[in-house]
Every structure is written in structure tokens, then in C-alpha cells.
């Protein structure tokens, strides 16, 4: 069966196969965020992506400083994760069981774990064995495990072998994802644009806006504003910025283009490209990092 991260309450031990780094960060951050929101203990096994996942959590407005300092959220360092290559299957199973026991003893209703293992350290068969041991350790217990095997780092045969041993796959559909830019729908007339916009993928933004405006014009209950969440947009080139400004100016007068969560660097480009003079363009900067939740 497949499920979405939003629905991951039903996940016990699931696999995710992101097509891009951006999707990996998105799914990992969503899984962590849902755990924190449910009061669960969250453990992230770092494989070199923790920095990007923490950045994505900040983009999503999830306060992690508090949970990181009081144990609700733990990032297991890469060296420790890598050291498991010397562990036997029994030891790995025992570690998972102890982790679950510890979380329950500390009063958490459940525990959730996610991360990646470097496949170069083990054979495909050995990785499948680990997954079986983890599965046995969490089965029937209040624990959720999301294993991420992305196509950037893992060969297709490894991904397929690992898919076979997981009963559930978590999916995160996108409107567009080329590994540099990822666009996901967030509502009838809103989308999230993450990654980098340049000469290679700029036309996608135009298409996205045309489609969103088309929807907004046809659907009577659609909001008049087209909203793009740019919290995770790290780069926007000049032609991309000019494109957004021009698109907003060409909107029918009842509609506006709202850019939300704009990072300072992206905002400077927009400012240099006439955004302050575009009446139908609203540029919202990202809020200051909030207090610890």
C-alpha cells in the first residue's frame, strides 16, 4: 500500500523512495514534524542530510531547538550511525527494542525513527536483513520507522529489493521535480516552490502560474490570490524574478500573486527586478525564527 507523509499516523515501518534531495528533505522534515506535533519522541539517524533537514524544518516553521535540547528530538551523529556496520543483526534488533522501551519509559506515547544507511557499507542482502530485524523489533509496538532510500544515492536494484521487504511506501507527489527545483501543490491556487530556479527550469514557473490562474478563474470558490510558498527557494535568477514580476502585472486586476516566506537573497533579486513597483505582487518575507515549541 502507499500512503502520504500527512497520513503517516498509520505508518509503522515504511519505505520512502525520494527522486531528489529536495523531496528527501521534505519527507524527512514532515515525518519529524508530525512526530513532534503528536508528542512522540523523534530520532533521526544522520547520513549527512541532517543539516538540510533541519533547514527544511526551519523553512516549515517547526521549532526544533527546544525538542533538540530536552530529548524530544535526537539527531544520532553520522559517526555513530556508521559504527553500526560492525554490529550484528541481533545487536541492531536489541538497539531498536531498547530505544522503544526507553521512549515509553520516559513517558512518550510512541517513538519514531528515520534516516538512511549508507548502502556502500553493506550488501543489498544485508540491508534487507537489517530491515527485517527492525521490522520485527517494532511490530505491534508504538513505534514508527520511515526508511529513506533515494534514487540519487541508491541503485535501482537496491531500491527495488528494499521496496519488497517493506509493506508500506510513503509517497509525496510533486507537480514538478528535476532534482534542482521541486514544485508541490499546497492548495487550489497555491504551491510550494523549493530549490533553485535558473535558465534550465524557469519556464516551469510560468506554466505553474498559468495553470494556477486558470484554476482560480474557473473555480468560483477558489481564492483570488495565487500563493507561492518560497520558504525553501534558495536561488532565483534575474529572468526568473522578472518573470514573477511580469506575471503578477499581467494578472486580471482582481487577482494578486503572493510570494510567501521569501528568503533575504531571493528578496534582493526581486527588489532589483521591479517587485516593489508591481501593484499586484505581494512579497512576504519569512518570519523571524519563533520561540522554542
Amino acid at each position: 500500500m502507499t500512503t502520504t507523509v500527512e497520513d503517516s499516523r498509520s505508518v509503522d515501518h515504511a519505505i520512502a523512495v525520494p527522486v531528489s534531495d529536495e523531496q528527501l528533505w521534505e519527507m524527512s522534515a514532515a515525518f519529524v514534524a508530525h512526530g513532534l506535533a503528536s508528542g512522540e519522541q523523534v530520532i533521526f539517524f544522520d547520513d549527512g542530510t541532517s543539516e538540510a533537514v533541519l533547514e527544511r524544518l526551519a523553512d516549515d516553521g517547526i521549532a526544533v531547538a527546544g525538542p533538540l535540547s530536552d530529548g524530544r528530538f535526537t539527531v544520532v551523529p553520522r559517526e555513530v550511525v556508521r559504527a553500526t556496520r560492525h554490529s550484528s543483526l541481533d545487536e541492531i534488533g536489541a538497539t531498536v527494542r531498547t530505544t522503544v522501551d526507553g521512549a515509553l519509559a520516559a513517558g512518550y506515547p510512541a517513538v519514531r525513527m528515520t534516516g538512511q544507511l549508507d548502502h556502500s557499507l553493506r550488501s543489498t542482502g544485508a540491508m534487507a536483513d537489517i530491515d527485517r530485524v527492525v521490522d520485527a523489533a517494532v511490530r505491534g509496538r508504538p513505534a514508527r520507522v520511515l526508511c529513506c532510500y533515494d534514487r540519487v544515492r541508491y541503485p535501482d536494484d537496491v531500491v527495488e529489493a528494499l521496496r519488497a521487504v517493506h509493506s508500506t511506501e510513503v509517497v509525496a507527489p510533486a507537480i514538478y521535480d528535476d532534482g534542482l527545483l521541486r514544485i508541490t501543490a499546497t492548495g487550489v491556487a497555491s504551491a510550494r516552490v523549493a530549490g533553485e530556479v535558473d535558465h534550465s527550469n524557469r519556464p516551469r514557473i510560468r506554466k505553474l502560474l498559468e495553470a494556477a490562474l486558470d484554476t482560480a478563474l474557473r473555480a468560483p470558490d477558489a481564492p483570488p490570490d495565487i500563493t507561492l510558498d518560497l520558504s525553501s527557494l534558495r536561488f532565483l535568477d534575474v529572468a526568473g524574478a522578472v518573470g514573477l514580476v511580469h506575471a503578477a502585472e499581467e494578472f486580471p486586476s482582481a487577482h494578486r500573486l503572493v510570494l510567501a516566506g521569501v528568503r533575504p537573497g531571493v528578496q534582493r533579486v526581486l527588489d532589483r527586478c521591479g517587485a516593489p513597483f508591481a501593484a499586484q505582487l505581494v512579497v512576504g518575507t519569512r518570519p523571524e525564527p519563533g520561540g522554542d515549541g
Partner: protein, 318 residues
Amino acid sequence: MRIETTRSAGALRLEHAAGFHATAAHLRQLLAPLADAAVARGEPLAVALEPVTEEALAGRLGDDVRLARLTPAGEPDGASAQTTAARWALELRALAAASGTPVTVLTEHVRRLDGADGRFWTELDAALNVALADLPVRMTCFYPQVPLHLEITEGARLTHPLLLDDGELHHKPQHLDPRAVLADRPAQAPPLLGPPDVHLPFGAWQLHEVRAAVERALAGSAHERDRVEDVVLAVNEVATNAVEHGTPHARLSLWTGGPALLCEIDDGGTLRDPLPGLQPPHPSEPRGRGVWIARQLCDSLHIWADDRGTHVRMRADP
């Protein structure tokens, strides 16, 4: 669609005149009435003069008159006339905006910038014609009557629409469009830099690799986070132009040894406009903004062409 313009609405646009002097004393004589007239009109006076000339002029005008000194031409990595023109445009735009009046500018030929043939001055005046075109600026450039290079007299004759003669400005019919002037005198190549520290061939789908290379080169440098982002943007825009308008494949070179980052983008294409990015693009014009913004973000940006293609060198100080 609403169109906002960044161009000034003032009635006066660039008045660009050449003046020729025989001696230093003659130069001071010629400068005096122009400066006095600016003061009488209550307009700001900007200068790019040799220190001794500036001192004499300041002495004559007295303490009540402030001379705005334009950033002297010449860069640590070699003189770039187009960089000087872009910078003066920025400085004069600010002066004109602050005063709300036209600005009088007095400049003087400086021999150390002549280079091999004096072509620097022709390029500077042609670039100023483009960069200052829409600014309320009365500019008079003084050249020696007998310069070391004939090119200087010839160039000044072609690039200045006005000639200062006997205290009067006269139109010169032989003056040419700045781009036509430069057609025969392509912008000079900057000094060679030796083998680069980073060399990266790239195509239209590898611009993120160009950005990553610049970011890596600036990691641990004295450039602050915002500065790094702006420099990455500037290089991205020039690199985008290279693969979009030049040739499908271009090259990035980076020199990281000094405090400033030096960067070059080379493509095999021909340079259609010898002076790109010197004028703010019209807001309704979707193209041409990249190089203009890159010029604003870099401390120097020099474009030249030769039989191998088009080259852009950028310098980004911390």
C-alpha cells in the same frame, strides 16, 4: 500593465563635451568658468581630476563649495573603462537624485591610464555616452592638445557630441554613435592572470554547478553571506548569457588567491553589443537585465571579444 521607469524625467540629458588644453595653466583657465557657472546655478560639481588640478580648482572656489570626487579610474586588476563608466553613472545618478538638479562634471586625461595606445579613453567616453545617456549631466572632458597617442585626440573627436571652444560649446558633426566608434576599436583584453584555481566547462543545464563552484571558492573567504549570494547571482547571470546567447558550451575560471575573487566566463559567441549592461533596462523589457545587475554587484566587470569568442572578467571584493 503598469510600467515604472527608472529613467529620470529631467529635461536635461547628457551634455558631453571635449575640451583641449595646451598646458596645466591653460587647463585651470578653462575649468574656472565652467566651475563658476555650476556654482552660480547652485548645481553640484563632480570631478575626476589630477590631485594638483583639483587642489587648484578647490582653492579658487573656496571652502563653501564642495567638490564631489568621482571614483578614480583604474582597478587593481587592470583599468576597465566600462567599469569606470558604470561606476560614475551610479555615483552621478545618486548626486542628481539628491540635489534634484543637473550635475556638472569636469574630468581630465590621466596619462597612466593610456595603456599601449590610448584606447582606454575612447572606450571610456563611448561607455559614458551610453551609461549616462539619460542622466542630467553636463560633462566636459579635458585632453591635452598634443597627447602621446594620436588615438586620444581622434577618439575624443568622435565620442564627444560637443566641443568646448573659446568658452562656448559647439556641436560636432563628425561625432559618432558610441557603438559605431567601438566597432573599430574593440574593448581591450585585461592583463593575463595565469592559470586559474578553478576551471569548469559548463552548458545550459549545469548553471547550478557554476553557482556551486563560486560558492565553494568563497567559502571561508572574507565575503559575508549576503555578499556571497550577490556574487553567485552576478556570475550566474553572466554565465546564463554565455550559454543562452553565446555558445551552448562555455567555461568558468576562478582565481581565488587574493582577497578579491576574480572570475572569468568565456564563450565562443560574438559580442553583438560592445557595451552591454551599462544602462538600466526598461522594466517592460524582460531581457538584458542580468548584465546590468551583474555590473551593479561586481566591483569590476569587463567585457571584451576576440577571435576566440566573448569574455567577461569580474572582480568581487569582500
